[in-house]
């Protein structure tokens, strides 16, 4: 499994992008890509209109069929009805885009499988519930703020030793979204935008609107949970481990949209 730092280094190298070597590199790495990395690469390739990369470069990834399926822009209501409460090795769902769809058992059972997958790797029940609540918040944000809700996806990877949850969209990204608020109109970097978005009461409606608290459920317990988070938007990537923000960096590859990945290894829980 590829460490996020290695993946970020790859994204940092603009020479690779311009020569399309990124596709070659990712093809090599594909079998070891984490779900979040495969999704990020897939979105990036699509955004750069290199659809062939998107398909070809991930063909050797274990997630290939899932991601290639996503090319078809499958609608929520076309997803199969799965009422299983046991998590799969990995699963992907294009987000519902209307509030009524959230009452669908396809959605509730999917959410429950995420909760079970988090518990399976050793995360406590309370934190696993917080993860699902946060995921729902980010899905809602994608619908309300991304300007491209139909692009939003939720996916998880689950093994006995590893859990990862990914929420990603190909919308306008955090910087453009926050700039809609007059008080944040002066923001000029995606780094700042991500940091702001993680604070309480910050949203495109401004800091006095009582909104923008989607990360509360996870962040207030992250310190004790033994998992890490990765945030990607625009040219920025931020890592958070045990509630400490670190590895903040700008990467050359512009990711139009927002991606959050939360991952945990069972080895972190002894």
């Amino acid at each position: 499994m590829i460490d996020n730092a290695v993946f970020d280094e790859l994204m940092l190298d603009s020479a690779l992008i311009s020569t399309q070597q990124l596709a070659v590199e990712c093809t090599k790495l594909a079998p070891q890509l984490r779900l979040s990395q495969a999704i990020e690469f897939h979105f990036l390739a699509k955004q750069q209109e290199h659809i062939e990369w998107a398909v070809q470069s991930i063909q050797s990834s274990p997630f290939s069929s899932m991601l290639i399926d996503s090319q078809k822009c499958r609608r929520f209501e076309d997803n199969p009805i799965l009422t299983s409460v046991s998590p799969f090795n990995f699963e992907f769902l294009r987000c519902p885009i209307e509030s009524t769809m959230f009452a669908d058992t396809r959605w509730s059972s999917f959410c429950f499988r995420i909760q079970q997958a988090a518990a399976l790797v050793g995360l406590g029940k309370r934190f696993a519930q917080g993860i699902v609540a946060t995921m729902e918040e980010l899905v809602s944000n994608a619908i309300e703020h991304s300007q491209c809700p139909s692009s939003a996806i939720v996916a998880y990877q689950s093994t006995d030793s590893f859990f990862e949850l990914v929420i990603a969209d190909a919308g306008e990204g955090l910087l453009a979204s926050l700039r809609r608020a007059a008080e944040f109109s002066g923001l000029n970097s995606s780094d700042e935008a991500i940091e702001l978005a993680l604070r309480e009461n910050v949203s495109r409606f401004g800091s006095g609107a009582g909104r923008g608290n989607g990360f509360r459920q996870v962040l207030r317990n992250l310190e004790f949970a033994g998992c890490s988070m990765r945030f990607r938007s625009g040219d920025a990537v931020l890592h958070m481990n045990h509630a400490e923000l670190r590895n903040q960096m700008s990467v050359a590859t512009n990711y139009a949209g927002f991606l959050m990945a939360l991952s945990a290894f069972s080895s972190d829980f002894g």
Partner: protein
Amino acid sequence: MQTLSIFELTGRDVLGGAVQGESLLALLISAARPHLATDLIVLDFAKVEVATSSYLRTSALAFRRFLQSEYPGIRVVFANISESIRDELLFLLGNQCDALVACQLVGNELKEPLLVGQLEEMQLVALRAVIAHTEPVDAKTLAVLAGDSSVEDGKRFTKWNNRLASLAQRGILRESSLGRTKFYAPIVKGLACGT
């Protein structure tokens, strides 16, 4: 009294997202509509362990606002809220300087009523004064007891009226009239103000 079970309406023990909350709001309005002759609706959160502030804002609290606006005679009480939901409500209501009544629903009985949220200082003083009375009480009596003895001083008297009316409008106090005088009592007997 009408009880609406959030778990039965959603089938979920974890609730998050503003858009998802709107879905519950529609269900709550629809479920409550046949019972709008009641004066008290209990939102029962039993079996719901987590609900985010965004979800609560667009669902249960929006439902409360809807009733305050469209059916001002109906009060809403939150029952059986988990510690996590209480924390979220405290956070959300604290930001808005608002409060509501939460309690335990055991059978058909409301027990251990507690104020959750934050009120302006003088509203809290007024609420404590009402709670100190076993019977419904009017603004004039409270003004006198509080030392605002110059009842002729219309300004002070009006302040007490306004505070009580505001607490009633929030669904914390029940309002009844005798002639031109309005009397107030806690929406649930034994209400505690908490910390």
